[in-house]
Every structure is written in structure tokens, then in C-alpha cells.
């Protein structure tokens, strides 16, 4: 039986902010899915759509930042509300960057669509699925206030990194075997790198969710000590 703010207008503002963030998250999820599909299916038209739709993601970043500033100025949020607002300010940046990474992948798709197909992208598809799953779980953790789920996202990043490394090595091998593949293989490699970065941003999101829920900042554990 969660209590709500006595001031219903304030409660509505916070709810609206939460919904905007989730909407933005949904757009980013759709963008990354579409961008990888455009690579795999050699679909330059779909790739162009991803680039166009990024504008809405960018607009949402601006709108959410403004909503956060407004709440800070007018409401002086405290405790959990303060943590929620500062989390929102940070994750909106990660989401916008994730949108940009989808655009970057779409640009690789345009490139690749103009050349003969490289070998099948099973691992790339798998990497994309993992990255998307990481984002989805981080957003779910955000909505439900579940720090354990957020912790799971942090742990899951290792799988992503391992798969990226495999793709990297495989593509390197391909390039050494057949120099005519270098240009295309490099494009695919970039796409894989973008997906790995996408996963990193999902872990940033998860770290902020842990902060929002528990009030402890778990970022950069290995940098904690001096020197």
C-alpha cells in the first residue's frame, strides 16, 4: 500500500516523468531491434527509418531534462523523490546515447547493403538480443524498483563482453583469410562494438536504478580507493 504525495499535482508530475522515461526506453528498444534487422536483412530503407526516428528520441531527452529541472526548481524534492529525479537526469543521457548507437548501426547497414553479403550474422544477432534484453531488464528494474534485477543486469554484462570478443576474433580471422572482406568485416565489427557499448549503457542504467532504490552509489567500485 504505497503512499502517494498529498499534493496530487506533484504526484501527477512524477508519474508523467516516469511514463516519459519508459516511452523513451521503448523507442530505444525498438530502434536497436530495427537497426540490427536492417544489417542482417540488408535493408537500407529500414536503416533510414531508424535514423529518422532518432529525432524523436532526441526530442524526448530535451523534454525529460526540462521536466526534471522544473520539478527541482518548483518542488525541492527530497529523499526518494530526489533520488528519482537525479536518476532520471542521468538515465535520459544513457538512453539518448543508446539511440545514437542504433543510428550508428543503421549507418553500417546502409554501407553493407551496397556490397555482397558477408557470411551469416548469427553471433551479431545473438549479441543484439543480449543487449536488448539488458536494456529491457534495466527498464523493468526501474519501473518496479527492483534492485536485485538491476544487479542481475550488472552481472549479465560479462556475457555480452565475451560474445563481442568472439565476434571480434572471428572477424579478424575472416579478414586475415580473405582481404577482400576487410571493408565489410570492419563494418560488421563496428556494429558489434556499438552493440557492446549499448550493453554498457544498460549497465549504467542499472547502476542508477540501484542508487534510486537503495540510496547507495555502486558505480566505479574499482576506482574507490585513492591511487
Amino acid at each position: 500500500m504505497a503512499k502517494i504525495h498529498t499534493d496530487k499535482a506533484y504526484e501527477a508530475e512524477l508519474t508523467a516523468l516516469r511514463e516519459q522515461l519508459l516511452e523513451m526506453g521503448g523507442l530505444v528498444e525498438a530502434a536497436i531491434a530495427a537497426s540490427v534487422r536492417s544489417v542482417v536483412e540488408r535493408d537500407a530503407t529500414l536503416a533510414e527509418q531508424v535514423k529518422m526516428r532518432d529525432r524523436q528520441i532526441n526530442r524526448m531527452e530535451v523534454g525529460i531534462d526540462q521536466a526534471c529541472r522544473r520539478i527541482l526548481a518548483l518542488r525541492q524534492p527530497a529523499a526518494s523523490d530526489l533520488r528519482f529525479i537525479t536518476t532520471a537526469l542521468k538515465i535520459v543521457t544513457d538512453l539518448e546515447r543508446m539511440g545514437d548507437l542504433a543510428v550508428n548501426i543503421a549507418e553500417r547497414a546502409v554501407d553493407l547493403a551496397q556490397a555482397p553479403a558477408l557470411r551469416p550474422h548469427h553471433d551479431l544477432v545473438k549479441l543484439a538480443e543480449l543487449s536488448q534484453e539488458q536494456l529491457k531488464r534495466a527498464l523493468d528494474a526501474f519501473v518496479t524498483g527492483n534492485a536485485d534485477e538491476a544487479e542481475a543486469v550488472l552481472k549479465g554484462d560479462d556475457h555480452l563482453d565475451a560474445l563481442y570478443l568472439k565476434i571480434f576474433n572471428d572477424l579478424l580471422g575472416l579478414m586475415m583469410e580473405d582481404p577482400r572482406s576487410i571493408r565489410r568485416a570492419t563494418s560488421v565489427l563496428f556494429a558489434a562494438k556499438h552493440l557492446e557499448r549499448f550493453g554498457d549503457h544498460a549497465t549504467n542504467l542499472a547502476e542508477m536504478v540501484i542508487f534510486m532504490v537503495k540510496g547507495t552509489d555502486v558505480r566505479h567500485p574499482r576506482s574507490r580507493d585513492e591511487g
Binding site: K3, T6, A78, A79, R83
Partner: protein, 261 residues
């Protein structure tokens, strides 16, 4: 029994309440409280109306004695000494533990007479010494520059904010160790409030301060530690930053975020 967080600041407790319970007749207003005021820190007491914070504050210099039917159990200590039944005379207690009220109450006398009053009542007659103390107190209250050329004008001609600072100067004149402030700025405009808050920040270097306020943002701005009272109980105490970023108790969280019952 409600008690202070186990992670108490390692600072010396200038004043301390131990198992303090205060009643008005049969009604218990404040239930068994353990709370320390760390030396040279500002401790804010927050909570909704009727939660007992002002009652608690008044117990620290036995102002509740003046309320018919008010009784208490437990201890209040000043530098480790019991303020009741110890060697501490109640008048001496109120000199060492001064009070400033919500509605400033300057005497209908001159500015000079207001500040010198406590010293004169204590038997001080040396004019040079009195003037020196008056000046020092008015400086301590950040009021000297504004009134130095009109010390013999009536205090009633001062603005609300100036009157409040005059009352602070009056309290400072008798050289207290602790200042208790009960909503000192609630009747003042934002500029006067900012001046009082700035003054509190300067004063804590020399005094220990406890402030009751219903303005949470003021408590957040001005205090080092915050104690949250609710229905006569002390729910939580901690560093102000912690109370306002990550309080431990749900009731504290509900109060500071505005999710009242």
C-alpha cells in the same frame, strides 16, 4: 524507547536528553526520548504540528516549568550535569541555555536597554563594560552596523527581522553556551530569513544550537543533524544530508517527501 542512531557523531554532546518523557497533566506529550545535541553543531527538530518538538525544546532550559501541570521524567544534562536537582540553578541554566522565540519579543525599551537588560538584572553596573558587551552582542547578531547610530531609539521601531536579531543579541549578551530557537524565522520574509540562517551558520562556531522549524527546507539548509518527531516520539535522527537523501524510517521518508497520512 526511541533512541538516536547508533552511528552517533563522535562529537561531544553539549546537552543530552535521556529517557525524557514530558506530560501536560495526564497527557504524555513527549515519550521517552534519547537525544544529544552535539557541541558546535546545529540540530534541527522537525515534525508535524503537535509532534512534541517545541515541548522537547522547552524542556532543555526548563521553560516547561512555567506551564501549570507540566511534568517530566528522565534526565536533561548540560555538560553532563543534571539540569534538575543538580547544582544548576534554573536562572543560571536559562542564562547558559538561551532561547529565541517565533514571535520576537523585544522589550518596549531602547535597543541598548534590551541588550543590556540581562546583564543589569545580574547586577552589572559598569557603563563601559555594558556598552562593550552590547556592541559585541549586536555584532554577534549581525545587527550592529544597522543600529549603532541609534542605540537609544526604541526597539519597537525596528523591522521584524531586525527585532528577531535584537532578541538574539539579547540572548548572546549574557554569554550563553547553547541557543534554543523555536521557529525563529517563521514570521519573517525571505530576505530576513536568509540573514537569520546566515547568522546561525556563524553562531555555531561559538555556540551549540537547536532549532525547531516546520520549514523542512530551512532545516535542510541550516542544520548539521536533524531529528524527526512524530506524535510525541523521536522517529529518527541523523546527519541532515542523510535524512533528506536516504532516511532509514518510512515515516521520515513519508514526511520529508510530502506523503502525509
Amino acid at each position: 524507547m526511541t533512541s538516536e542512531t547508533a552511528q552517533t557523531a563522535p562529537l561531544r554532546a553539549k546537552m543530552e536528553a535521556r529517557r525524557l518523557e514530558i506530560s501536560y497533566g495526564p497527557k504524555v506529550a513527549v515519550k521517552e526520548i534519547d537525544l544529544a545535541l552535539p557541541e558546535h553543531q546545529v540540530t534541527a527538530l522537525i515534525g508535524p504540528s503537535g509532534c512534541g518538538k517545541s515541548t522537547f525544546l522547552r524542556a532543555l532550559n526548563r521553560m516547561n516549568d512555567l506551564i501549570p501541570g507540566a511534568t517530566f521524567r528522565g534526565e536533561v544534562l548540560l555538560d553532563g550535569e543534571d539540569v534538575v536537582g543538580g547544582r544548576l540553578d534554573v536562572v543560571e541554566l536559562r542564562r547558559r541555555v538561551g532561547m529565541v522565540f517565533q514571535k520576537s519579543n523585544p522589550f518596549p525599551k531602547s535597543i541598548y536597554e534590551n541588550v543590556a537588560y540581562g546583564l543589569k538584572v545580574a547586577g552589572q553596573n559598569d557603563k563601559a563594560l555594558l556598552l562593550e558587551r552590547v556592541e559585541r552582542s549586536l555584532q554577534g547578531a549581525a545587527l550592529w552596523e544597522e543600529v549603532k547610530d541609534r542605540l537609544h531609539e526604541s526597539a519597537m521601531g525596528l523591522s521584524g527581522g531586525q527585532q528577531q536579531r535584537l532578541c538574539i543579541a539579547r540572548a548572546l549578551a549574557v554569554e550563553p553556551e547553547v541557543l534554543l530557537m523555536d521557529e525563529p524565522a517563521s514570521a519573517l520574509d525571505p530576505i530576513a530569513t536568509a540573514k537569520i540562517e546566515d547568522l546561525i551558520h556563524e553562531l555555531k562556531a561559538r555556540y551549540t544550537i537547536a532549532i525547531v522549524t516546520h520549514n523542512m527546507q530551512q532545516a535542510a539548509r541550516v542544520s548539521d543533524r536533524t531529528a524527526f518527531f512524530y506524535m510525541g516520539e523521536l522517529i529518527e535522527t541523523g546527519p541532515t544530508e542523510q535524512i533528506f537523501t536516504n532516511p532509514r524510517e518510512t515515516r521520515t521518508e513519508d514526511y520529508v517527501t510530502g506523503k502525509f497520512g
